[in-house]
């Protein structure tokens, strides 16, 4: 069992964001530079190394939807903004999810906007493990415009998953825009497939968003849920899907 998974399972919790990013990086998906910090001072030091602007996010096993809890600040350009952001996040979370256990905050390189994609993984006791690909935001939530493929996923099947969503035109260069890097998207799908295949303890993966660019892709947030673990139903549970 992977040591990050073993640790989380031992604590009966899901993986924290920086652990998810670490796993993705281990499987060859480049992630934004980031650091877990416990104090504003540590945050300032980390931001200096990462380079401004940065984003700040709450890290808690009890908070699945960080934005809803007021736990995210993006595009912080200076030390002052960072310090203010740090305090505001802790204040928001203290108010919105008082029972949530706080592991720290994540200082993360601010990532330039790309085309928002989602790569997911879900398991079905009968049919097997499926990978999901779609475009972020309303495309997945409202239009249910996603493609699915059961593992094992071949290179051709991954490419086909990207091509077969209705919103493909957005990726292919909408209104004269440069087309996204389809190979990099398909490659990320394959890598997440490998992550799922090698780690049967993982119940669900949700890389959302994954920004797609004309060259390369970048995951900005990720959730990895483990079998049998669950977010405890305290005030900290802000899941309302």
């Amino acid at each position: 069992m992977h040591k990050l998974i073993e640790k989380a399972a031992g604590e009966r919790r899901n993986l924290l964001e920086h652990e998810c990013l670490a796993l993705l990086m281990e499987y060859g998906i480049a992630a934004p530079r980031h650091a877990l910090v416990k104090s504003a001072g540590e945050a300032l030091q980390a931001a200096g190394e990462i380079d401004y602007p940065v984003a700040l996010k709450i890290v808690s096993p009890d908070i699945l939807h960080k934005s809803d809890a007021g736990g995210v600040k993006v595009n912080l350009k200076t030390g002052d903004e960072l310090r203010r952001g740090f305090d505001e996040i802790l204040e928001n979370v203290g108010r919105n999810a008082p029972a949530a256990k706080i592991e720290g905050l994540l200082v993360m390189q601010n990532i330039k906007q790309g085309i928002e994609c989602i790569i997911g993984m879900t398991r079905d006791a009968q049919l097997g493990t499926a990978l999901m690909f779609g475009l972020g935001g309303i495309f997945v939530e409202v239009m249910e415009d996603v493609s699915l493929c059961l593992l094992p996923v071949s290179k051709d099947e991954a490419a086909d998953m990207v091509r077969s969503i209705k919103g493909y035109k957005l990726l292919a260069g909408y209104r004269g825009g440069e087309p996204c890097d389809m190979d990099a998207i398909a490659d990320a799908i394959l890598k997440i497939g490998a992550l799922a295949e090698n780690n049967p303890e993982i119940a669900e993966i949700d890389v959302n968003p994954l920004f797609a660019y004309p060259r390369g892709v970048m995951p900005v947030d990720a959730r990895i849920l483990l079998r049998g673990s669950q977010v405890p139903p305290t005030n900290g549970d802000l899941e309302h899907t």
Partner: protein, 444 residues
């Protein structure tokens, strides 16, 4: 322990609860078994009758002089328990229990009891609360409606009505089925047994399944994957919508499951998925015939411009590539066709085209390899359509799929010839295109 094979290959059948009253199920079942020319012993069981439909009647299974392989049971539910016990003592191999009054009305105890009794004798059960089985390979119509035409589609259906309609559609086309089974409560024999049987059954070329839910741990998924390696499998699994799923839950108390995931499963393992009853039949028919396109490039040859456009739209929507005619092909066609013909795809031979013009076009096309599917559309009465298409079929490498419409009595005669010669023909261009697309899924 006996197997499904012992039921389907039965050499002798008793109908327990046979009746002289034509309005009773026990009459219909006996009558259908007799009418179907079942070759072995047929024994009506009814303590009150001397003979039914010309067959000597016995008071009980124990009174039958010879051996009984299969007992078809249609007595009232509360009598079934004793019949099962008696069948066990008679060394019957399998039971088709039509009678209801079991789990479907909450009577789980009684159902478990008959299953246990049957098991203790090594007997297998289809049902209870089912519509029975028609296995044309053994001329055994132990069900209704009466269908005799022998064919190569093996149908197993959660819904008796949907399965029966498949039989009737196949009979109407003269292509028949190898088997029809509606399994009711599935207390013992389930789809898994049938899928495994069909996979190795020489009479079955296509496996047609209508299911509503999948029981966890039943081995169904594994059986399906294994069967799809051997022959085409076509599945109709309703409950695609939220309300459809609710209807499934109340019909069979099963969970329809994640429909999109099921679709992904079918794609992965080359299982053909039909979305409605029309597709269910059409795709089975297509898959049971030999035409198997080598790719998705299609050429349409039509006498009807309008029907050609419908084919084009359906092709575009279904990822079928409507090819562009090469200059060489255009000039070859131009030499043999009158000037009003539109040398494009669809190739419009125009409304006054008769079989000869189709034949000329086919002759120019048959050596060309720029398409994998050739769809002739015969609109209007065109006698000789079958013959010219058969000539084409022998010469071309492309899969030939036909649509014939608007042709009245000539159409009926030609379509009958096509069906009889296993040439896939459909009454609308859309259905022809979708069926060709469906079997493309088998390529991987």
């Amino acid at each position: 322990m006996h197997s499904l094979n012992d039921i389907l290959q039965a050499k002798s059948i008793a109908v327990v609860g046979a009746s002289g009253n034509p309005e009773k199920m026990g009459h219909t079942l006996l009558n259908n078994i007799i009418k179907g020319d079942f070759g072995g012993g047929i024994y009506p069981i009814n303590p009150k009758e001397e003979s039914i439909l010309g067959k000597e009647c016995y008071k009980s299974l124990g009174d039958v002089p010879g051996s009984v392989d299969l007992a078809v049971v249609c007595v009232p539910g509360k009598l079934v328990r004793d019949v099962v016990d008696e069948a066990g003592k008679k060394a019957v191999k399998g039971l088709i229990i039509i009678s209801g009054g079991f789990k479907e009305i909450g009577n789980d105890g009684l159902e478990n009891e008959i299953v246990a009794i049957a098991k203790s004798y090594g007997m297998r059960i289809i049902g209870p609360n089912c519509q029975g089985v028609n296995y044309t390979g053994n001329k055994m119509c132990a069900t209704w409606p009466f269908v005799k035409t022998k064919g190569s589609i093996g149908v197993v259906s959660q819904s008796g009505t949907i399965g029966a309609e498949m039989e009737l559609l196949a009979e109407k086309d003269g292509i028949g089925v190898s088997c029809f089974a509606a399994l009711g409560n599935k207390s013992d024999i389930s789809e898994v047994d049938f899928v495994n049987f069909f996979a190795d059954d020489p009479h079955t070329k296509v496996i047609a399944l209508n299911i509503e839910g999948i029981r966890e741990g039943s081995g169904f998924i594994e059986a399906l994957r294994a069967a799809a390696q051997k022959k085409p499998v076509v599945i109709l699994k309703p409950g695609r919508t939220e309300k459809g799923r609710m209807a499934v839950a109340s019909h069979t108390k099963s969970i329809a499951g994640n429909d999109r995931l099921f679709g992904a499963f079918c794609r992965k393992y080359g299982i053909i998925r039909a979305l409605d009853l029309t597709e269910f039949y059409d795709f089975c028919k297509m898959a049971s015939f030999v035409a198997r396109p080598g790719g998705n490039r299609m050429l349409v040859v039509t006498s009807s411009g309008g029907a050609g456009i419908l084919a084009t739209d359906t092709a575009e929507e279904n990822n079928i590539d409507m090819i562009l005619l090469s200059d060489g092909l255009k000039s070859a066609l131009g030499k043999v066709l009158p000037p009003q013909c539109v040398l494009s795809n669809p190739l419009d031979l125009t409304g006054d085209a008769r079989a000869e013009r189709f034949a000329n076009a086919f002759e120019a096309l048959c050596k060309d390899q720029s398409f994998d599917i050739l769809l002739p559309i015969f609109g209007d009465p065109i006698p000789g359509a079958y013959e010219v298409t058969e000539t084409l079929r022998k010469k071309t490498k492309a899969a030939v799929v036909v649509s014939y419409l608007g042709g009245g009595a000539d159409q009926e005669a030609e379509v009958a010839l096509m069906n009889a010669n296993r040439m896939p023909v459909y009454p609308t261009p859309e259905r022809a295109v979708k069926s060709a697309r469906a079997v493309l899924g088998l390529l991987r």
